[in-house]
């Protein structure tokens, strides 16, 4: 039998001073931003073929970074508690740093841009604030939660924003009509640590501290599915952007365990879990390659796993001397970036197998 073709055979890498905390690609894939626990922010410009350190090691962590949907802004938040923004021009043009905006809410670790819009949601203590890139100021409305906001997620159409804390998941439509409809609030028994909207179908998944997963059907107005029995806190979630037979494929990471969830029918037990056991330590990030059912998972044991739609490990990538902390697919779906806990970053071109590019509804047949 011939050896299966390798998905990854080359790589590019580099080094920051402290542990990599976040990676983010610009929407067109021209730029990759890399942040560290020392507050470094490195911007790689692939079209100009250069890199620029936007911020050096300040011994103060950056924890969330992101490019706005139009690629105009790069934001970063972290330990210092201010919102940092850069305005980006074309490739090869030096980004312009704006004055940091203090929020007075301590260490910031969750902020995310609206898809197809210019609103940036920032978790500031018990409040979600929106910075509006169109007018370059704060949106007048805020979303207040009963506890510290632990996770944020936008729906793919940019209309709904979900936020979770200990005791509540709130769903808000900040851009829809005035007077705005009040946020939809659902009580939960634990703390919501991860939130993710399915790219189609509007399902919302929430990973909880009590080792369970909540999954709301479309619109989030009816009772959620509740799946318990995970070995650890459900910390990371990822949806496949290809439609499934019913719902798209969902991946959930809890401790060293990765679980594929597939919806098989509409009943209360209509989801089937498939545990993917291979990592030896905590999984720190999971993401499906855009336009594909290929899943990447990065773990503290220094391994990245590449999994097919049936949960088979196709290839593993190793960091050798450090644990992985994060990963991010380039929007083209064929480049994977990852960061390590000793400051190393990697970039791999990935040859996605053809069978992972088809929606699973289009006749997966007798595989």
């Amino acid at each position: 039998m011939a050896a299966p073709a390798a998905l990854v055979s080359e790589r590019l890498c580099g080094q920051l001073q402290q542990s990599i905390t976040a990676l983010n690609w610009s929407p067109k894939g021209d730029f990759l931003a890399i942040a560290s626990a020392g507050g470094e922010l490195l911007l790689l410009d692939f079209r100009a073929g250069c890199e620029e350190l936007l911020r050096g090691d300040r011994d103060s962590s950056l924890d969330a970074i992101g490019f706005s949907a139009d690629g105009q802004f790069l934001m970063a938040v972290g330990q210092a508690g201010g919102l940092l923004l850069w305005e980006l021009g074309e490739t090869g043009v030096r980004p312009l740093a704006r004055e940091p905006i203090p929020l007075g809410a301590g260490w910031l670790d969750a902020a995310t841009w609206q898809p197809q819009g210019l609103l940036l949601a920032v978790a500031a203590g018990r409040q979600v604030r929106l910075w509006d890139g169109a007018v370059r100021q704060w949106h007048p409305e805020t979303l207040d939660l009963p506890g510290t906001v632990q996770a944020l997620a936008w729906s793919q159409d940019g209309l709904q924003l979900a936020a979770s804390c200990h005791g509540e998941v709130a769903l808000w439509q900040p851009t829809v009509a005035t007077p705005a409809e009040p946020p939809l609030r659902t009580a939960i028994d634990s703390a919501g640590l991860a939130l993710s909207f399915a790219p189609s179908g509007h399902l919302l998944a929430c990973g909880l501290m009590d080792r369970s997963l909540l999954l709301w059907p479309k619109g989030c107005r009816s009772k959620p599915w509740h799946f318990s029995g995970f070995p650890a806190k459900v910390r990371h979630l990822a949806w496949c952007d290809l439609p499934g037979r019913l719902a798209p494929l969902l991946a959930a990471a809890a401790g060293d365990t990765l679980v594929h969830w597939t919806q098989v029918n509409h009943s209360s037990k209509g989801w089937q879990p498939e545990p993917l056991l291979w990592h030896q330590q905590r999984i720190e990030a999971v993401a499906f390659a855009p336009g594909s059912t290929l899943l990447a998972s990065a773990a503290a044991d220094g391994t990245v796993g590449l999994w097919d739609r049936r949960g088979r490990l196709l290839q593993s990538l190793e960091a050798e001397d450090q644990g992985f902390t994060t990963l991010a697919w380039r929007p083209d779906g064929v480049h994977l970036a990852a960061g390590g806990d000793r400051g190393r970053w990697w970039l791999w071109p990935v040859a996605i197998p053809v069978r992972e590019r088809r929606p699973s509804s289009s006749g997966s047949g007798f595989q």
Partner: protein
Amino acid sequence: MVFSSPVPAAQRLPVTVLTGYLGAGKTTLLNRILTHEHGLKVAVIVNEFGEVGIDNQLVVEADEEIFEMNNGCICCTVRGDLIRIIGNLMKRRDRFDHLVIETTGLADPAPVIQTFFVDEDLRDQLRLDAVVTLVDLKHVAQHWDAEEVQEQLAFADVLVLNKVDLVNDVERQAIERRVRAINPVARLLTSQNAEVPIQELLGVEAFELERALSLDPGFLTEDHDHEHDDAVGSLALVEERPMDLEKLGCWLSDLVAEQGPDLFRMKGIIQLQGEDRRYVFQAVHMLLDGDFDRLWKPVERRRTEFVIIGRNLDQEALRAGFAACVA
């Protein structure tokens, strides 16, 4: 539920919890810890930035936020703010060797302590070194009725009696006796301006089982001063006859099931029937941990010493329950 983590203690970062009523000198002590030439790089979590005069990237603010897990069971009450902030801070672990957590003067120490045993992440990444409580010798008498003050004394492994320069010997001894009646096992230090040798505070390993009990030898024989009727108190039990582990285990699990919220800390060294090793034991509310320790030394007096610190303790019932565990 036990205290142990699958990760060896040496690989976990030591954490000191610093408590004390308002004005007891916590900030002075924190500044001392941050400036002291002790060679340790210490990260500090404070509840208010402004108080610490030192500009340091390893001083981080956290707002007390209680997470009740499992339907409000008291032993599963943890501090959600610490889980989040320490999770962020641990990404910078190579930058510090020790973590100190300052609690507000009004905070209940139990959820802080429990966080390090109950939370899956913190349990495997950190180990609780000791609870250090500062006592304001000059003013403590005025606050004595505050529940927080008594709880902070009860949970302490190290008690620093601060502002010794502001009281005379008679006053100090009276407070010492009263403190000892609540907590007979903590190490007592006195200080002026919170000047305490740092090695007496950091690296104490009070939660390591082999250090479970360092009972003030005088305590067991001393005639206690019963002039104060504090809600929080302690009971020291001594038994010369060997005990039965199974009976003891049943008694303790029933005890914590019924009275867990009122039992703050328990520590003990047990002499077991037909066993040449010491059995050591400790508990925080309903979290129990016990294990065999070293052999009894030939010169050592083999006997069981057991201390219970709690609220509204029914001394008679506890003595009877304990006595029934003799082998």
